[in-house]
């Protein structure tokens, strides 16, 4: 195994450098290796978080483990409510991660401080509320999680936030850290100094094949999260519409129009579409027959939209859907597309607490 640190930069590779008749030089391959390393490991795009401040709740996000990222960075911001502050109030954060079969809930894989053992408090508590914001940051090893989460790459992250009455969890956001290391033990990554002036280029891990393998991982596994909205399980989106698809309660722009969310899909092979996968966390409550179902539609700008998933009765148990396939458009105005959801149920109430749309390149 060989490793080499790298800084984050994207080298410029002019096509003319590889023109016919130009003598092949070591730096041609070395620069390509640097570029492929950066394209794949330098821009991981999965993330999740809470859109707004919260006085507490239980939240779930979906995350797909891939070969690209090695660590997640998780950031929480805690503030006062702006009134009289009670000393000691803050946010207790308890994080667990599951693959649907196995669960990780203990330190040190769960970062100390996100295991429910600490109260994260605001600062300057007598100041203006915005000056009480205390920012905290943790990193979590995805390899360490994967050692236990072996049943599936489709993970779900659960956060239980217990917040004192005079404090808020102002923000909780997570994103993948970029790679600062090229490691030949990984499934991608080419060490640029494998290509030395007048040196022989060998086949295998130090050969040219690894450059293409590296870039290809960036295509297949460096995924963008286009939508990661959640609501606390105690206050989910809901639907009781039995006749027609309607917006979920709590997700209405006006009348029967759902809230739309904008994204800029990745345009890779084709010029018109971007394949994505989407998942929901849901439950049904009070269905009058076990054979009844509910349905959710994902609406995008693609000609095949809406994309629907049928949800079996769960009799009150929160359940994760399997990953569903959908498409976003990449030829919209300003290359943007929109995401929105509609739902209906044959009886009872459908509740949804998490929605996720992310890349699934074909």
């Amino acid at each position: 195994m060989s490793t080499e640190p790298r800084i984050l930069f994207t080298p410029r590779v002019d096509a003319q450098a590889y023109a016919s008749g130009v003598t092949a030089r070591a730096h041609h391959a070395a620069v390509l290796a640097n570029l492929a390393n950066d394209a794949t490991g330098g821009h991981p795009g999965q993330r999740f978080g809470i859109g707004q401040r919260t006085a507490g709740g239980t939240y779930h996000w979906f995350y797909r483990r891939t070969a690209v990222a090695k660590h997640l960075v998780l950031r929480a911001t805690v503030a006062t409510t702006g009134g009289s502050y009670t000393a000691g109030h803050g946010a207790v954060l308890t994080l667990t991660v599951t693959d649907g079969t196995n669960t990780v809930s203990t330190t040190p894989t769960i970062p100390p401080g996100l295991d429910g053992g600490d109260t994260w408090q605001p600062i300057n508590t007598t100041a203006l509320r915005t000056e009480t914001f205390a920012h905290y940051e943790w990193t979590m090893s995805l390899d360490a999680l994967a050692a236990t989460l072996t049943a599936s790459d489709n993970w779900r992250v659960k956060l239980v936030a217990t917040v004192g009455a005079t404090a808020f969890l102002e923000s909780f956001q997570a994103e993948e850290l970029p790679r600062w290391l090229v490691d030949t033990a990984d499934s991608y990554g080419q060490i640029p100094t494998d290509y030395l002036p007048r040196g022989v280029i060998r086949d295998g891990a130090t050969g040219l094949q690894r450059i293409w393998a590296t870039a290809r991982v960036g295509y297949t596994d460096a995924l963008r999260t286009y939508h990661a909205q959640v609501r606390p399980e105690a206050d989910p989106w809901s639907s009781t519409s039995t006749a027609a698809y309607e917006p979920l309660g709590g997700d209405i722009e006006s009348g029967t129009t759902p809230i739309t969310y904008v994204c800029r899909p990745r345009r890779m092979r084709g010029t018109t579409r971007c394949k994505v996968r989407w998942r929901l966390r849901y439950r049904t409550v009070g269905m009058s027959s076990v054979s009844h179902t509910a349905s959710v539609q994902l609406l995008t700008g693609h000609a095949s939209s809406p994309f629907a998933v049928t949800l079996a009765d769960t009799a009150g148990t929160w359940t994760d859907t399997a990953a569903q396939t959908a498409y976003l458009i990449t030829d919209g105005t300003d290359r943007l597309d929109t995401i929105s959801f509609l739902a209906k149920t044959q009886s009872g109430t459908l509740e949804v607490s998490s929605r996720w749309v992310a890349d699934d390149p074909d």
């Binding site: 590779v13 041609h28 702006g82 600062w180 006006s254 739309t260």
Partner: protein, 225 residues
């Protein structure tokens, strides 16, 4: 005449599976200029596209409070950032996010806030996207940038606020082995702290503005789309 430069054809071309029998990069096969040009184009395009993503989204809300004194300038410095939804404001700390210069162009990607909004009759609704350094308050904004968009439409309409220039802050990222606490990798990355807010000139709960689906995302720098 200047030299024409081409770094990518702006689309991904599949090559045969690495290590497979059709892999032209395997041992003892001559690499053509076209093959290396495709490799360079693919990776450059990938770095550009992978660098752009959604950073934050929220469902929105209703609000009625105007900017504080000085609000005529539409400067979000005067947004009531310290207040809460119940006070009639919509203000959010949208978190700290990694933002890198865009691909090999090294241009600053645009940060765009898009949302749908409506104003009460005869009043104006404004939305603001503010970038600060992590840890800085939008009120004590000493190094930051903002963009705003306004509407007087009583029908819900799309608002877009875009920042083309803004400060990037540097953070150190550290990935550790959780068992030994040994540093596995570390390095510098550039980030922004985002704030999103909205105001309504009615100043009364009898005339509410509405905002739905605010989303903040990265786009290529001008003139790219």
């Amino acid at each position: 005449m200047g030299r024409v430069s081409l770094t990518t054809i702006e689309r991904w071309l599949h090559l045969p599976t690495p290590g497979g029998s059709d892999d032209h990069l395997r041992a003892d096969h001559a690499g053509s200029s076209g093959l290396f040009q495709i490799l360079g184009s693919n990776a450059t395009h990938l770095a550009r596209e992978n660098g752009l993503r959604v950073l934050w989204e929220d469902r929105g809300g209703e609000f009625w409070e105007d900017l504080d004194a000085g609000g005529g300038s539409n400067d979000p410095l005067y947004l009531r950032w310290e207040d809460l939804d119940a006070d009639g404001v919509y203000v959010r700390f949208a978190g700290v996010h990694r933002v890198r210069l865009w691909g090999e162009t090294a241009g600053l990607p645009r940060i765009t806030l898009k949302c749908r909004a409506a104003a009460p009759s005869t009043y104006t609704v404004g939305v603001a996207l503010v970038v600060t350094e992590p840890g800085a308050s939008p009120i004590s904004r000493t190094a930051g940038a903002y963009a705003v968009a306004t509407t007087t439409s009583t029908s819900i309409t799309t608002l877009t606020a875009t920042l083309s220039t803004y400060p990037l802050a540097h953070l150190e990222g550290i990935g550790r082995d959780p068992s030994t606490r040994a540093i596995e990798e570390r390095g510098d990355h550039t980030v922004v702290a985002l704030w999103v807010g909205a105001w309504c000139t009615s100043g009364s709960s009898g005339g509410k503005g509405s905002l739905s689906g605010p989303t903040v995302f990265l786009r290529p720098p001008d003139p790219y789309t």
